[in-house]
Each structure stands twice: as structure tokens, then as C-alpha cells.
Symmetry: C2
Subunit: 129 residues, 2 copies
């Protein structure tokens, strides 16, 4: 079934790493994950919340990655939204599980913008504007 986008909801539960509240480290991890997936990073923004928690978004030429952490619950919610055929989000996910040391990861995959058979050919290329 052809679709415009592919979205992976990655729930990283029971994280043993002590980095869920370290904004700089999470930014490094997320941008490295994007590169491992083969994505082209356009921009990244991260915020540290008080008393704890980090949110971050990485806009890539092929859509986005996001992360929200709850250190007090040893939990991080990651999304990887991609378009095109060339990216390998699985590589990013393996890396994220390792870096956050999640003992209970769960992944849900969605297709976004499912095409009907009569839709135009899916040939769009994403070049920065």
C-alpha cells in the first residue's frame, strides 16, 4: 500500500540511562539518529523543562523526528516521520534504544497519506526550498 509518509511511534519505556534530563546529550543523540537513518537535517530545536524533561524536534528534508522525555518515569516518546523510499528509520531506532538503554521498547508504524490507485505517481523529491 503506497503512502506519502511513514511514521514510527517509538515508546522507550524502562530506560536505564541517566541522560533523559540532559538536553545537550539528547540533542546529540537525536541528530545522530537522524543521520543514521540517512536523513538530511534542516533544523533542530530543543527545550529543557523544569523540574525535569526535555522536548526536541529535528526537521529533516524528509519530514521530522521528535522526542519528549519523562526522566521521572524512565520514559521517552520518540516519533520518526519520513517520506521517500531511501531512509532507514530502523537504524535510528536501534541506536535510540541503545543510547537510552530502554528495556521495554515498543514501536507502532503508520502510513500517512495513503494513496488510492488512481492517484498520481509518487515521484516527489524533497529539495530544500
Amino acid at each position: 500500500m503506497r503512502a506519502l509518509g511513514r511514521q514510527l511511534l517509538v515508546d522507550l519505556k524502562d530506560c536505564k540511562a541517566k541522560n533523559l534530563d540532559n538536553m545537550e546529550e539528547i540533542q546529540n543523540i537525536m541528530t545522530t539518529a537522524a543521520k543514521l537513518a540517512g536523513a538530511t537535517i534542516k533544523e533542530a530545536i530543543f527545550h529543557k523543562f523544569s523540574p525535569h524533561g526535555v522536548s526536541g524536534m529535528v526537521i529533516i528534508a524528509e519530514s521530522h523526528l521528535s522526542v519528549h522525555t519523562w526522566p521521572e518515569y524512565d520514559y521517552a516518546a520518540v516519533d520518526i516521520f519520513t517520506c521517500g523510499e531511501d531512509l532507514k528509520p530502523e537504524k535510528a531506532i536501534g541506536y535510540l534504544i541503545d543510547k537510552f538503554q530502554s528495556n521495554d521498547p515498543a514501536i507502532t508504524e503508520f502510513k500517512r497519506g495513503v494513496l488510492r490507485t488512481e492517484d498520481k505517481n509518487l515521484s516527489r523529491k524533497f529539495e530544500p526550498g
Copy 2:
């Protein structure tokens, strides 16, 4: 079932509006949607792609909103990820359907970070760090 986050995947198909390639207008629409939901905007980044398409992320104190548009398919993929009990993402969704004039919207709701009964009390407040 208590959870740390709530995520709405909003597929706006068959959009009749001519604004899916207008980055400035989409940024206005998404930030207005965030405010209608009751969110506190921390930062927003938007990109225009060539030949067409816009991507945008709005980091809110309560998580994020994202949008990716495919004007050539009259399609926009929106996510609204919130935490806490006070936000009203439904208000944002109604507004988005109107502004993009989607004749075929679909919404899928997820709970992210579902808590077990033995988990700590869910009392976290999100204050900017």
C-alpha cells in the same frame, strides 16, 4: 487508562484550500491552532520545500504540533502531541479542518507512556526551564 501523553494523528485529505504551499499562512494557522488548544508556544520552525510542500513544528510547553503538506495531493499530515489535562486539541483540529477545507479528515488518537497502576502519581507540571 492514565498516560503521560496524548497524541492525535490528523490526516487532512481532499483539502480544497489553496494554502498548502504557503509557508507563512501555514505557520499562522498552526500557531493559532496551538493557542486555540490552550497551549503555550515555546518555539516554531517552518520550512518551504521546492517544488512544493511545507513542514513545520511548534514546540509547546505541553509537547508539540507538527505539519507536513503535500499540495500536489491536497493532503496535510498534522500531529498534536499534548500532556496534562488542560489542553483542548479538539478545538485545534476543528480549526485546522476549516482552514485547510478538508473534505475527508481522519483522526487517530494514541496514548503515549501508559502508566501502570503502581506508577507514581501523575502530577508533573510543565514549567519552562
